[in-house]
Amino acid sequence: MTVTEQRGAHRPAPPSAWQPRTDPAPLLPDARPYRVLGTDAAAEADPALLRRLYAELVRGRRYNAQATALTKQGRLAVYPSSTGQEACEVAAALALAEQDWLFPSYRDTLAVVARGVDPVEALTLLRGDWHTGYDPYEHRVAPLSTPLATQLPHAVGLAHAARLKGDDVVALALVGDGGTSEGDFHEALNFAAVWRAPVVFLVQNNGFAISVPLDKQTAAPSLAHKAVGYGMPGRLVDGNDAAAVHQVLTEALAHARAGGGPTLIEAVTYRVDAHTNADDATRYRGDAEVEAWRAYDPVALLERELTARGLLDEDGIRAAREDAESMAADLRERMHQDPVLDPMDLFAHVYAEPTPQLVEQRDQVRAELAAEAESAGAGR
């Protein structure tokens, strides 16, 4: 290996000979979020896809409502609802190919479910019987990530590894507007661009990080403008327009699949519910704003388009709702069953083999439980 071979195309050269390393112009997002619904582009959208998106949106909306209800019933520790953001959640799951990977953030249970994970397993974390309730390899869905933005480098690494192995796999990583401020966001995007890793970053800009509005989060023209600083294309999309999100994601995934490298997509949307059931959103935002967004509802937007174009009628709407209801009924019923707990699980998965110290601790708990059971038996 000679020294010359190791250097890339852009060898250091005096500033007098300096060239920009790539043309920034094509990396910059359009000034306005891309839209499909209600525009000419809608005519080109595949009706079957639109109907599929619609059905999933209706399910998603219902899922959020059901999960929120479950918190009130004490069946979930907490639920961060994505009501208002269903278009992003659903499109994220549906745009992926079978072999692709999804890296969700803590709010993205819906995307996880739309990807095929069992709706109850997807809630394990929030019910509290374990951390991750599903096998990540089954549907190629990484664990829901609580520490914000930390899952982004994972997505990059996985995509990079797949590419090194020659596999046709793209990773899609989800993050919130708040999460873009974390160092991990920066490092992930930079690694992705340098490695030309097949990964797509979807930022759901829902206006808030808990109570902190976007203005206190960034001064950028848009979050999509961050892309140029990494040398990847940035795209801005209407996050309440499921068809637009799906299209932009599909294009970015195809670009990555073809070896074009990563894309940063900002979907402009809104969190209509509070941050979680434990949050009081009236402390930091007014009703008028929420109402304006309710009027721009992703489900209604798509429903309007479909009905206007004769792709959906009353029956279709009813069918979608019934389907969602039965999903919700099933979820409710199964979530009302107490999960089976085994305290020995505390020690089972810390290492491949428990350390001698963990064996001691496991035996201690086992003995405690046995003693408890015995004294309970004796008491009877």
Binding site: A77, G128, D129, W130, P147, E182, L346, E368
Partner: protein, 334 residues
């Protein structure tokens, strides 16, 4: 006989009160963190401060913990006294480098020229049904970092007093708030002039003769409960609340153990490599010939903090403490 009229207050209220009083007393005190402004913090500890002192004094920051602590360093360099809130224990980890490489060392690096009077408030510990990464006990990391003070209150009055002392300190203080005690109440009157506890003094919460429970933060009430329960077994337990892990009050702890001859260290944090090892080791070094039995430890297990439904099997409770006390070789006595 007169009793001073004190009304019950929560630890959360006392912390808010301490912040307000500190801000009122010194314009250099600035509160900053995620959601601390408009929302008043996810635990509402900073409630009302932005309204009272303005958003510059109680500032919502971008969502980036290294950035929060790193900018606090710069603010402290310029003479401010930043009080930083980390939203949950595990979300302080992104700021670890700033904490270890700068906050803890700046005074030393500059031969004392550039002290950093920063208070880092970290709600810590479990028992509140939090999902993963919301219930860590990270004090071992901070204890192992010279240059930091590490302080944690267990009572409403200490919450006030120690937080005032932390903010007044010219050195950085990691102020660990036991989140499951936020809503614990005590007779405490915010109208009364408050004693500001000096940092570094442990306190004997309960006098006893049989053995000493050495503990702090969220485990103090558990130990007091265990001490009550122990009476049925004929044990009269002393309970020492450390309050400050750094500096460590060897004097109080050693005096107690020399008197009782037996000790158990109790904390939520994992046992292996946790604070209990240090405490047991130094107590043994100082009290060896007074000890009737080895200093034992009752701690969280050496596992990642468990999910809400399993945490009761993990947390040190009364039974485990009594079991440990029972293993203090009482036979030797009689």
């Amino acid at each position: 006989m007169t009793t001073v009229a004190v009304k019950p207050a929560t630890m959360a209220q006392a912390l808010t009160c301490a912040l307000r009083d500190a801000m009122a007393a010194d314009p250099a005190v600035h509160v900053m963190g995620e959601d601390v402004g408009t929302l008043g913090g996810v635990f509402r500890i900073t409630d009302g401060l932005a309204e009272e002192f303005g958003e510059d004094r109680c500032a919502d920051t971008p969502l980036a913990e290294a950035g929060i602590l790193g900018t606090a360093v710069g603010m402290a360099m310029y003479g401010l006294r930043p009080v930083v809130e980390m939203q949950f224990d595990a979300f302080a980890y992104p700021a670890f480098e700033q904490l270890v490489s700068h906050v803890a060392r700046m005074r030393n690096r500059t031969r004392g020229a550039m002290p950093l009077p920063i208070t880092v408030r970290v709600p810590y510990g479990g028992g509140i049904g939090g999902v993963e990464h919301h219930s860590d006990s990270s004090e071992a990391y901070y204890m192992a970092t010279p240059g930091l003070h590490v302080v944690t209150p267990a009572t409403v009055a200490d919450a006030y007093g120690l937080l005032r002392a932390a903010i007044a300190s010219d050195d950085p203080v990691v102020f660990l708030e036991p989140k499951r005690l936020y809503w614990s109440k005590d007779a405490w009157n915010p109208e009364e002039p408050q004693t500001v506890e000096p940092i570094g003094r442990a306190v004997v919460r309960r006098r006893g003769r049989s053995a000493t429970l050495i503990t702090y933060g969220p485990s103090v009430p558990v130990c007091l409960e265990a001490a009550e329960a122990a009476r049925a077994e004929g044990w009269d337990l002393e309970v020492v609340d450390l309050r400050s892990l750094v500096p460590f009050d060897d004097e109080t702890v050693t005096a107690s153990v020399r008197r009782t001859g037996r000790a158990v260290v109790v904390h939520e944090s994992g046992g292996f490599g946790g604070p209990g090892g240090e405490i047991a080791a130094r107590v043994t070094e100082r009290c060896f010939h007074h000890l009737e039995a080895p200093v034992l430890r009752v701690a969280g297990f050496d596992v990642p903090y468990p999910p809400p439904m399993l945490e009761r099997y993990h947390l040190p409770g009364v039974d485990r403490i009594l079991d440990a006390v029972g293993r203090l070789q009482w036979e030797a006595e009689s």
